[in-house]
Amino acid sequence: MSDPTSARPGKPRVGLFVTCLVDLMRPSVGFAAVKLLEDAGCIVEVPVQTCCGQPAYNSGDRGTSKDLAMRMIETFQGFDYVVAPSGSCAGTIRKHYPELFEDDPNWRAKADALASRTYELTSFLVDVLGVTQVDASFDGTVTYHDSCSGLRELHVKRQPRKLLASVKGLTLVEMNDSDVCCGFGGTFAVKYSDISGAIVDAKTKNVEAAQAATLLAGDLGCLMNMAGKLSRDGKPITVRHVAEVLAGMTDEPAIGLARDTRNKTSQP
């Protein structure tokens, strides 16, 4: 991971790419990310934004992908860093925007520039800012799912674990095959729902076998998939984005839980 070698006169200015899923489904993850970044000494700004274009890109719609990528590149120019609470959205910018503009030197240079400044949240905190601990407590056992894009495109694996280790009261138990896909895959979950259903079934069996009260991950798509499956099967495992726990912001009901049961979501 690159490290800013130039002298930092002030605080780094971070553009938060909140990601469309967090924006729409679970804004509390975005606020948790803001807290973590501010606690680590960043100035956080949130420019008006929509989507990185990954759904179009992975569906073969290069035209829409390019339009949205150009918009993202323009929206986030000028920030020292761009940080997203998602490995797959950060991965799209870091690994795939440059590919999208292979034949366009002008935009390619801009895409490269954005890619080099873009990070997944936990890897930004640990690898770039050198954060070693967070100020949070969470009573209970958690297990962590390594979302595929973050893991394989951005090598996010030890960073969230390192930060979780500093959360007071928290015990991490590893599940089997934590690095195996949960079956989400964006539109795959809907287009090939039978297969996706089988894959998430295998995943949640591993989650259950770990006997942790809470399941964490760094990507909301995967989390919604696994939370939806656990709730369909009546499993009393709460599901949260890792940023919520790291920021100590677990007042909101866990993913898929009703608002009026919020007090029951805390750990035994």
Binding site: S59, G60, T187, R232
Partner: protein, 477 residues
């Protein structure tokens, strides 16, 4: 014509596979066995990752100069007394093979394991022309008895269990005592060996595939674990090597590097039990070997991949690691893919060989988890190549209308941030309100695929951007 494909029915194939209790049990073996063994083998070799780079570079170099290496190889085979035949497609390949068999007066042909022979459907063709092909790899022998395609490129019968094999042996080996005990796998193996031994001795022609063809020496190489390949190519009077053109490798030195990643990636072995080199027919000083040595080099769509974004697929050395690590393959097995090559490598290769109009599902049926690419010994960017197929499908309007219109709608709003904010605010407020009581939806319009297997968590209600604006407006510069 290549062998028949059911790839257009991928979804139905997959649904059937998911409900096949026996198949699901068998697939567990793939999940457990191969992965740990590969990892252990890779961990034991400090230079494994460097070897993968080197393997990729060797194959890339060969593909860049494939014409030259093909010519060099042909010269060497001829110099060693063998014959080289070029076949543009499956029809030509079958014709050439049949003619060689007829020239040898063949009644029985033994076969080593060869995926290209599955691709061109040689067995049925020989049978239709009065020649009996006998598969001699145990897994291939079993699926031949069942008239099936392999479900895995290195473990063709991985979808079966011992009881099924026992039933097939009892059905076919009617000359044996009906009361014999076949309850142990080793008894099945012993019986297959005894039956095959007769076939080896009776065969007039032996057909093998090739893992590599060496341009420097005109050598073909097979890697096997059962020794059947050696008996297939040494005992009959005529040996035919079937290979697609991308099997070429410049030198023996190059091959030795590729061999170091092949078995480790495939089965976790350092080397397979047998690594057999054959160069031309038997020489006067040789103790054994065939009198006639033929190589049939088959294109069947490969050359049209050269120079395109799919050229990288031609690096594939058929180790099977991609499917061994694929959650989709683990869920549905190989037959669901509907043609010869399953898993991620099949999802990229099959559309190239039989057309994306037929095999369009395959590159779409992936979560893009990237585990295949992370273990590929020649570093083929399989998800990227699947995405290229999705792009071709999108350009040709082969993408399903529901996906297109959904994406179109999403794209429309995502391009217009002001409108996006208005629309998403309203939508999330509605959904959030509706889902307040239970926190989730068990059913939502237009999302049957999702809610068939899992609930849809309700949104919190207010969008992040709306709340940010409300709470932080004026706070940041």
């Amino acid at each position: 014509m290549n062998v028949h494909s059911t790839s257009p029915q991928f979804k139905q194939n997959a649904a059937r596979a998911l409900h096949d209790v026996q198949l699901q049990k068998a697939l567990n073996n793939v999940k457990q066995g191969f992965i740990d063994k590969r990892q252990a083998a890779a961990d034991k070799l400090p230079e494994f990752e460097a070897l993968r780079d080197s393997a990729r570079d060797i194959k890339n170099h060969t593909l860049e100069h494939l014409d030259l290496y093909l010519e060099a190889y042909e010269e060497k085979v001829k110099a060693s007394g063998g014959h080289v035949h070029f076949a543009r497609n499956a029809e030509e390949a079958r014709e050439i093979i049949l003619n060689i068999c007829r020239d040898s007066g063949a009644k029985t042909v033994t076969k080593g394991k060869s995926m290209i022979s599955e691709e061109i459907g040689i067995n049925h063709y020989l049978e239709a022309n009065g020649i009996r092909p006998v598969e001699t790899d145990l897994g291939e022998y079993i699926i031949q008895l069942r008239n099936e395609l392999p479900s895995h490129i290195i473990a063709p019968a991985v979808h079966l269990n011992a009881t099924q094999v026992e039933q097939d042996f009892r059905r076919v080996h009617t000359h044996l005592d009906a009361k014999r005990d076949l309850s142990e796998p080793v008894q099945l193996l012993t019986e297959a060996r005894a039956v095959l031994r007769e076939r080896f001795l009776a065969a007039d022609v032996g057909i093998t595939g090739a893992n590599f063809l060496v341009a420097e020496t005109g050598t073909s190489i097979i890697v096997t674990n059962e020794g059947n390949g050696d008996l297939t190519q040494i005992l009959p009077k005529t040996h035919i090597v079937l290979a697609s053109i991308e099997k070429l490798v410049p030198t023996l030195d190059d091959v030795s590097q590729l061999l170091r990643v092949l078995a480790r990636s495939a089965t976790g072995q350092e080397m397979s039990v047998y690594t057999t080199f054959s160069t031309g027919p038997r020489r006067a000083s040789d103790a054994d070997g065939p009198e006639n040595y033929h190589v049939v080099l088959i294109d069947n769509g490969r050359s049209s991949m050269l120079g395109t974004s799919f050229e990288e697929m031609l690096r594939c050395i058929r180790c099977g690691a991609c499917m061994n690590h694929c959650p989709v393959y683990h869920a549905v097995g190989g037959h669901a893919y509907g043609w010869v090559y399953p898993g991620p490598m099949g999802a990229v290769l099959t559309p190239s060989l039989i057309g994306v109009d037929k095999a369009g599902h395959l590159p779409n049926a992936s979560t893009f988890c990237g585990r295949c690419e992370s273990v590929c010994p020649v570093r083929i960017p399989l998800p990227k190549l699947m995405r290229h197929w999705r792009e071709r499908e999108f350009e040709r309007h082969l993408t399903p209308a529901s996906v297109r219109s959904g994406l179109g709608l999403w794209g429309f709003f995502a391009r217009r941030p002001a409108l996006y904010r208005l629309a998403t605010r309203a939508a999330m407020a509605t959904l959030g309100f509706a889902g307040r009581q239970r926190g989730r939806f068990t059913w939502l319009p237009f999302s049957k695929g999702w809610t068939k297997y899992r609930d849809f968590p309700a949104p919190q209600g207010e969008t992040f951007q709306a709340r940010w604006q409300r709470e932080r407006k004026g706070r940041t510069a």
